[in-house]
């Protein structure tokens, strides 16, 4: 995903009627984060629009939570992974039946174990919330640190599209929290 492979930009693979992989390469810099977020936004809407269950189609919290998780994952890449050099992030969206998977493959510095802290941060924390947001908002999270440039890092995240959660008084829908 670096160097010559940066010429590669976009690919769609239809593995089955219920599994498509859309891949895109995004520069691993914060100013390109919005580009990835717009794609995530589109993929969430696509998964919801294709659901056969009206209760799932209305679950807009799904979008908010996946977008939040992707944003934090991209922050980690841009701020920590590509702190010392530039490179591309290959983002693979798995559009599944009532689920969305996202795989981020990068040739940056591996995300340090200290950053991958899934414990709930103390109340009113000003930092170290990213991995907690990722792991709480997604159903599956797997990180495989690589050894760039030969072996890239890979972060896999997956979230199931559930029916809209019943609203609690005074709260808008959130749905899907583990």
């Amino acid at each position: 995903v670096t160097g010559a492979n940066a010429e590669w930009l976009f690919d769609v693979e239809e593995r089955s009627p219920e599994e498509r992989i859309v891949s895109v390469a995004i520069p691993g810099q914060l100013r390109y984060r919005a580009m990835g977020l717009r794609m995530v936004e589109f993929m969430c809407k696509l998964v919801r629009s294709e659901s056969r269950d009206p209760e799932r189609r209305e679950n807009r919290a799904f979008d908010a939570e996946v977008i939040s998780a992707f944003g934090e994952a991209f922050n980690n890449l841009a701020i920590h992974g590509f702190r010392d050099w530039d490179g591309f992030v290959r983002v693979e969206f798995g559009i599944l039946c009532d689920a969305l998977s996202i795989r981020l493959v990068d040739g940056g510095r591996s995300v340090d174990a200290s950053v991958r802290d899934a414990e709930a941060p103390p109340m009113l924390s000003e930092s170290k919330m990213g991995w907690f947001i990722i792991t709480r908002f997604m159903d599956e999270v797997r990180y495989e640190p690589g050894c760039p440039p030969d072996q890239p890092n890979a972060l896999f995240m997956k979230k199931e599209l559930r029916p809209v959660a019943p609203q609690t008084p005074g709260h808008a829908q959130t749905g899907g929290h583990k």
């Binding site: 977008i67 939040s68 922050n75 919330m129 709260h171």
Partner: protein, 101 residues
């Protein structure tokens, strides 16, 4: 991201933030927040009704403002939180903190 500071005659300050408050944009608004804290207003009202997206860096900026303002006796209210920012606030239990402020 756009932000606007509005000073009222009653000694309160409204900070309106719209668009995306994230790792890229949070540093822009931090200097405005620093100025608000330095002026020691009676109350700060943070209007997020037009905020579309927030990340942990944006949360960090808001929490920093909240803690510094409260430490010097300035009341802080956060209003108009919706959609993705509301989901983040609930996860981080900031909805109860800011609602009780």
């Amino acid at each position: 991201m756009q932000h606007q500071r509005l000073d009222d005659d009653d000694g309160s300050v409204k900070l309106r933030i719209s668009g995306e408050l994230d790792a890229l944009t949070a540093p822009e608004v931090r200097s405005t927040m620093d100025g608000i804290v330095a002026d020691r207003p009676r109350e700060v009202v943070i209007d997020l009704s037009e905020l579309r997206l927030i990340d942990s860096s944006g949360v960090g900026a808001l929490v920093s403002l909240y803690k510094r303002a409260r430490a010097q006796g300035t009341a802080v209210r956060v209003v108009g939180v919706n959609d993705q920012p509301a989901a983040i606030f609930r996860l981080l239990r900031l909805d109860t903190v800011f609602a009780a402020a």
